[in-house]
């Protein structure tokens, strides 16, 4: 069963993935500058890596 901590980490991770894709559509639509988009991509990357590493399990297959 997922703990509350895991859920919070997952929310942050998926928000990071969201930040890694949504801003590009805003750039395409002319709503966002490319500089700000770069910053948001970096933020999304940091959010993903700082949290996903704790809840993505190692493989124990085989």
């Amino acid at each position: 069963m997922k703990t509350a901590r895991t859920r919070i980490l997952q929310v942050i991770s998926f928000a990071g993935l969201g930040l890694s894709i949504v801003p590009s559509f805003l750039v395409f639509g002319g709503v966002l500058s490319k500089e700000l988009y770069f910053h948001l991509m970096t933020a999304g990357m940091l959010m993903w890596f700082s949290t996903a590493v704790f809840w993505i399990r190692k493989d124990h297959l085989g």
């Binding site: 890694s20 770069f38 910053h39 991509m41 890596f49 493989d59 085989g62």
Partner: protein, 548 residues
Amino acid sequence: MFPVGWRGLLSGVDGTGGIFYKREFEPHDKIFRFEREQGDMSTKTQSTPASVPSKVKSTLIERLDALYEYDREPVHESKLQGWRTFIAMFSSEHIAGTEFVLGTLLVLHGVRAVDVFGGLALGNLLAVLSWAFMCAPIAVKERLTIYWQIRKIAGPYLTVLYSGLFALILCLLAGSMVNVSTTAVTLPLGIASPNYAAGQTVPSVPWILIAVGVGTAIAVLAVLGFERLAHFAKVVAPWMPFVFLSGAIASLPSLGVTGLGNFWQIANEKIWTGEPYPGQMPYRFWHCVGLAWLCNIAQHMGMGDVTIFRYARKWQMGFCSAFGMFIGHYMAWICSGVLCAAFVHAQREAGAAAPNPTPGNIAMFGAGYAGIVCVLLAGWTTANPTLYRAGLAFQVATPNWRRWAVTLAAGILMIVTACIPAVLHYLDRIVAYYGLFFMPLGAFIFIDFWLFPRLGLSRYYAERRGLRFSWPAAIGWFGSFGICFVLYAKDQYASMAWVNSYLPGFLSRYKPDLFLQVLPAWLIAIVLYTVCSMIQQRLHPLREEQTI
């Protein structure tokens, strides 16, 4: 590209790919158990210096067998995996650093938009069907690794040769991954990457030093922390497709795309223009089909993936490969093509005479530092297991060497490869050669399984007769590759043009590209192997006790 991940070693070029199969399914403790055994073997070998050459040969085979000893038996039913496992594995496995290269190469070779969208769709569909109808059904019925399948059909000598050559190609692929990662490290440092198309065939000294540093770090980490890195690679995988897609979408406005309405027009005018860049041969629809189908052919038609699909509950799980193909080899290649065109366009607008669309440059252009990190990690996480497996394979032939020494030696080969810009420039050709070379052995497995019983031929003939060398397999393997290579080379290399004068008219007029040789190579392989096997089994039929 290649499934060369922790995710799919012997994978690969994706490989960096792979071929190479040490995937998630095989717990790493098997490797460590093997290494302990190797240590024991080394001790024994050292204590018996009077080994004679024939003894060395036999122990080479024994050592290779020991490496795969824990996979000798078919997979037990309790270890079978469901759909989610295979979907997740394929989705994550087929995005590697080389995706930044292959999508770019298609642009440089002047494909048209319809070639890319249609050709890659067809090629990837053929790859998926090959996995689903050729590889997976045999895997779930036999439930054996590729190593043991080849061993039963071709005998131990050819299996050792297969493993050794495969280790070499692993080093080459790992080198291309290091090259990709190096372009990401050098960019922020202001060191220009070599532009092979502009005649820079040797990198600058600072670039080589960075490549040596990156390669050494990868080699050292491959020795020290395989399991932890395997976990990290799994964390990286879901994020990378987002960077590809995001970078491409954000780059479209710089090419003038304002919406879906003018996308196709701009795609044909500025991205996939139909005009190859200087020094590049033109690619068309069938080149795209062939590249998409060929780049993992060692895994599907070459049967490398029987090693992972032996864990599948049903053969239909072969269709899970669609997730890898259409994310990694369709979406990612198209996105890197867009990134390449946007970068080149922007550079030319800025007055650059010879833009250099390296992975680092195009990723930085499309996604900023996140793109740089993506390139670095895409190269690193795929180069590492590739190198690890290459080291493991080489250790079989060098039992007196310590594990770390063999891996570092393989790392040196990898670093040398990384410092050759031509490797990335011709990566698509290298992938084609590698696919055509290793594919015939998979064709033998396919034919041995489906056709031999119908022809009244014995399956696993080499194993049943205790043969160390199967000459039908050798003729089929080298004959298929040799014929296809000569048919290609006769029109590509002046030194081979004489071949045309000895060929019948229809063959001298036949001018196939490497990418168009998938089916001919497969057919030649199975015809040679089947005919030679009929002769062999007619001359030396199995005795009654050998048929069991």
